[in-house]
Amino acid sequence: MATIQLDNRGLQPPEPMVRILAALGSLAADDEVVALMDREPHLLYPELERRGFTWEFDGRDEAFVLTVRRVTA
């Protein structure tokens, strides 16, 4: 299982979304993308769903963390 780490803080919209979607292209079944964010990416979620991914968002601390994985059957 591999983890692709992205630091998406300090980027203008929609760059964080584009970086995450670009990273997903090479994601194997067990891999995950973990992205540090400035804010919750509400508009990314429908696109993740459409491309067959699932996600968790941790918004408790100052740096928000989004984790994305492939939906497993």
Partner: protein
Amino acid sequence: MTLAAPGRGPALALVAPFFLAAPLGLALAGLILAFSNGDTLLAINAPRTVALTHAAVIGWLTMGIFGAVYQLGPAVLGGRLVSSRLARVHFFVHATVVPAFVWTFWQWDVRLMGYAASGLVLSFILFLINAFPAIGTLRRGALPARYLGASLVMLAVTAGFGITWAGTLQHLWFPVTMGRLAGHAHLGLLGWLGLTLMGVAYQLAPMFNVVQRKRPVAGGPILALTVTAALGGGLVLMADPGPWVRLAVAAAMAAGPGAWGIEMLRLMLARSRRTLDVQGRATFVSLGFLVVTICLGLLAAIGKPVSPGHEPTRLLLGYGIAGVSGWAGIMLIGNSYKILPFLVWYHRYRQLAGIRPVPVVADIYSEGAARAVLAVHTTGTIVAIAGALLGDLNILRAGGLMLTLGAALHMVSLAHIVLAPHAPAPRRIGPGEVATR
């Protein structure tokens, strides 16, 4: 950890009409200013001035804010619209009622004014049904959502007084004194427009100018202060108080936006993105007009002794133009060049992102055209303020014409964003790449 429900971006066809129609309100207000007559400099409640005011605040700023709330609520604050169809009906109702409402003021036809005012109340109700869930107030305590929640309540209060004033103009229940006029006006200007723009700026200014090192420190207290001042001050003004109380109310009303302005300046100066685009420039220009608005507002509250030509109307008019066209208007213009291009990007390119090269938001609007709009509008605003303060009708009219020209340029430039095809510029984002602009 929370598993978030999928967000739903509002349709471009739903939001874009609000942004495209808003400059028509500004163009109308500019034209009315261009047709100012002697009364404009003598009475702040002259029919043409009240028509001009509502064309600007309801036709232009409120129309634009409607679009911004429908877009930013679901996109940034995680709320949802109850019904997209309702929002479309709302656009139709608002776009139809506003010109009629403004016309009844121009003609000072108090009977028709009542009907048009009822249509406007309907428009606000349709908006509020969608707006409260759209900003997700109940689910999250984010600062912009709290500002927007408070401003929506203020819109309802303002409209409540507005329809009452329209009713009494027709049925003569009681006179609309200058104090009652000022109370309704400030509930709308500070409570609705001010709070909304302050809240939206807390979200968009750091987001698009990339402010990471500093966070807002006084957003909550400023909100409490502004709500108390707008509501309490608005009600006190309605009792037609003497000059000292008026001055105290003016100082209380200025305190919140003043503190917010300092906070915005702090955030903007700490930005990582040093090159200012039109939104960053507009933020600074708008803050400059906030200072002018506060100074003129305090002088207007003192009244006759400090009024140019001993005519308080001129000071009040200059103050209104600075606040509406300068502070609030320029903030809205700047943010339009982020909100609308992002929405277009989202609808046209998100499905391709990460798969093929896609343009960045900066490719979707013309920075040159946007800056031209900002320059013409800012000049028109300064000329109109100067015309009001100098008591010179010709300068005032010239300012009105420039504002109309700026509005026309703005509308063409926004229409281009929505309708034109966008060729990605050479520094477009490809799969795995990051644009650095």
